[in-house]
């Protein structure tokens, strides 16, 4: 039998719906606004008269973005960094976390401290910068001229994600592993046939974290990639924004364009978030679970 709600409970429930709706709308609104502004006309975007729906619709901003080779170049670079970066980080993290999760590992505490310490103390931007510069010279010395590989190999690797993986691996019952070893499984087979299938949700979560941070990476890519052709999408977007914030450049803009400079940025934002929006719903159910499983450890 359903109990009648008390007054205070009813008020709180209504308040919850109201405030959550407001917050959800606030989360969604900038994206709707972005899409509307990307397809609105020059005057409307320049004067920010768009509130929700597009006015004076044009698709020239998108067309010009799609016709821009530099844009596709930047997009390919981002895909490259995300793909290889995530694979590189996942391989290293899974192997390391698996070894760390084993009680029989000698100096286990030392290795753990070695990881955790990097979460407490980092050398800072300037030493990191000098270190990457030295790495870049070393890479060029052995013939790796493409700075993208420097970003893939040297950057990323977050201790927090390795610890999430380690905690998940520690929860795999040791009986299953022993059964596999009795059946003659090697260390790699134990990892790939027992551990990985049993921790799918945390693997998906960590891969998502790595992938997103690769896709969104900006600062070090801008600092370390010297060739303009190798820059990823985020850097390209920021450079365009900086370029268009110069009023001198935009005075004669209207003569040759039907859309405002800002529409290009809005169009770029849409292009850069679409892959995330496509993957996100499929993986969202995993990460809520994964974070809950591994996040808080007492």
């Amino acid at each position: 039998m359903r109990r009648k709600l008390e007054m205070s409970e009813l008020i709180f429930r209504l308040l919850s719906y109201l405030l959550l709706t407001m917050f959800a709308v606030a989360c969604l609104y900038p994206f709707v606004y972005t899409l509307s502004s990307a397809v609105s006309g020059y005057n409307e975007v320049r004067d920010s008269t768009i509130v929700l729906l597009p006015k004076n619709v044009q698709f020239d901003a998108f067309r010009d973005v799609f016709n821009d080779n530099v844009f596709w170049n930047a997009y390919t670079n981002t895909l490259f960094l995300t793909f290889y970066g995530t694979i590189w980080e996942m391989i290293l993290s899974v192997l390391g976390a698996y070894a760390l999760s084993k009680k029989r590992l000698l100096f286990r505490k030392t290795f753990n401290f070695f990881l955790v310490f990097t979460m407490w103390f980092s050398a800072g931007l300037v030493p990191q910068y000098l270190n990457y510069l030295a790495t870049k010279r070393a890479f060029q010395g052995i013939g790796i001229m493409d700075d993208k590989w420097l970003v893939v190999i040297a950057m990323g690797m977050q201790a927090m994600n390795i610890i999430l993986l380690r905690n998940a691996f520690e929860k795999v019952p040791s009986e299953i592993e022993e059964a596999a070893i009795v059946d003659g499984a090697t260390e790699m087979q134990v990892l790939s046939k027992v551990y990985l299938p049993m921790s799918k949700s945390i693997l998906a979560t960590v891969a998502l974290f790595f992938g997103i941070s690769r896709w969104n990476g900006y600062f070090w890519a801008r600092q370390m990639i010297s060739s303009a052709n190798e820059q990823p999408l985020q850097v390209y977007m920021r450079l365009r924004l900086e370029e268009y914030s110069d009023p001198e450049l935009t005075t004669n803009w209207q003569l040759s364009h039907s859309y405002a400079p800002d529409s290009v940025i809005y169009a770029l934002i849409i292009c850069s978030i679409i892959p995330i929006l496509v993957i996100y719903p499929f993986i969202q159910k995993y990460f809520a679970k994964g974070v809950n499983v591994g996040g808080v450890k007492e």
């Binding site: 290293l92 029989r104 050398a123 931007l125 300037v126 030493p127 190999i153 969104n216 800002d262």
Partner: protein, 354 residues
């Protein structure tokens, strides 16, 4: 360890003489051949140790090796030389930063950056920390799973936008207007000025050019970005509460507020403490990328943080040693904060993070 003769010789009652203690011989052997035994174990189990190697190598090369470059804090910066070849200059950079020896302007900037770093984080803690807890409580009120999923998908979404996307949006939504060309300010500025929250001049001047608004913009965009996602942890703690606890409270006549106070709060308290420790620990760890993308020369007064100070002077500028010294000071204090917060929490409530 003190070694006594009695450890080595025990009285054997059968033969009536003293014989060597076999246990102590084993113990001795283990101690004497400690490293040989370690090597044996590692060789026998080499696959496991090989798995660790790449991860350790990456952390050594690109996390720990930069710490060696910190030596530059005590040396005269010369770009042509490696940090090992540079000449020592003692604590001169620290004296300049802290007491203004030789360059009072730089010291003033550093102190300002340090204060801003602390204030941005502190306000984030005060205003940003409670919001995810509230959102988790609200999520708990939604009975239908589908409706809740929709709300969750929407509110987690901003977390996955890049800093560049987020800051570009902020920049354009509060952009400046101009009276002469009839250009209106950004849409958020217009709304705020219609509501009377900011003056028309402020809206036209561009909110990001005005130091008075930087902190508010930073915090609000931070809440927009992270509050939904950060609620996951609290929501997990709340749904773990057994429904019988609520029922018992309801039978005892507890209203919503009393249920919050006596059922929900005690159950999620340990989660709150852990998250609080993490936040306090990163109190001096402001997202420099976001500040770097949002600030400009007009707003240094409230926006410049230690990392951006270091970036401007050390990476864009030539004062590498000085910039390293500035960041090292802040990072060491940050580390002490983490360890301190963790120790206090462990003593006070048996909950600790590390």
């Amino acid at each position: 360890m003190d070694i006594k003769a009695a450890d080595y010789l025990i009285f054997d009652e059968e033969s009536g003489t003293y014989i060597e203690n076999p246990e102590q011989i084993v113990r001795d052997d283990v101690e004497k051949h400690y490293w040989r035994n370690v090597a044996k174990t590692v060789i026998k189990d080499w696959r496991l140790y090989l798995m660790l190697v790449p991860m350790i190598a990456v952390f050594l090369l690109w996390r720990y090796l930069p710490m060696y470059e910190l030596l530059g804090c005590f040396k005269q910066t010369e770009d042509a030389k490696t940090v090992a070849e540079q000449y020592y200059s003692g604590f001169s950079y620290f004296r300049t930063l802290l007491f203004g020896t030789g360059n009072a302007e730089l010291s003033m900037q550093f102190m300002r950056a340090f204060r801003n770093t602390f204030l941005l984080s502190f306000y984030g803690l005060v205003f940003g920390f409670p919001v995810p807890i509230l959102i988790a409580l609200f999520f708990n009120e939604i009975r239908s799973n589908i409706t809740r999923s929709i709300y969750q998908v929407l509110t987690y979404l901003p977390k996955f936008m890049s800093t560049v996307v987020m800051t570009s949006l902020v920049i354009m939504l509060v952009k400046q207007g101009s009276d002469t060309s009839g250009m209106q300010p950004g849409v958020i500025s217009q709304m705020l000025s219609h509501l009377g929250l900011i003056s028309t001049e402020a809206a036209y001047g561009g909110l990001l050019n005005n130091p008075a608004f930087f902190r508010a913009i930073y915090q609000i965009s931070g809440i927009w970005e992270g509050a939904g996602y950060d609620s996951i942890v609290f929501f997990a703690a709340i749904i773990a509460i057994s429904p019988t606890s609520y029922e018992a409270a309801q039978i005892d006549g507890a209203g919503k507020l009393s249920q919050m106070r006596y059922v929900v709060l005690p159950m999620i308290f340990s989660t709150i403490v852990i998250m609080l420790i993490t936040r306090i620990g990163s109190l001096l760890n402001v997202g420099y990328e976001k500040v770097l993308l949002l600030y400009n020369a007009n707003t240094y007064v409230t926006a410049d943080v230690v990392s951006t100070f270091a970036q401007r002077n050390g990476i864009a500028g030539a004062l590498k040693g000085m910039a390293s010294a500035a960041e090292m000071l802040s990072n060491i204090i940050g580390m002490l904060l983490v360890i301190g917060a963790n120790t206090i929490a462990r003593k006070a409530s048996d909950v600790s993070l590390y």
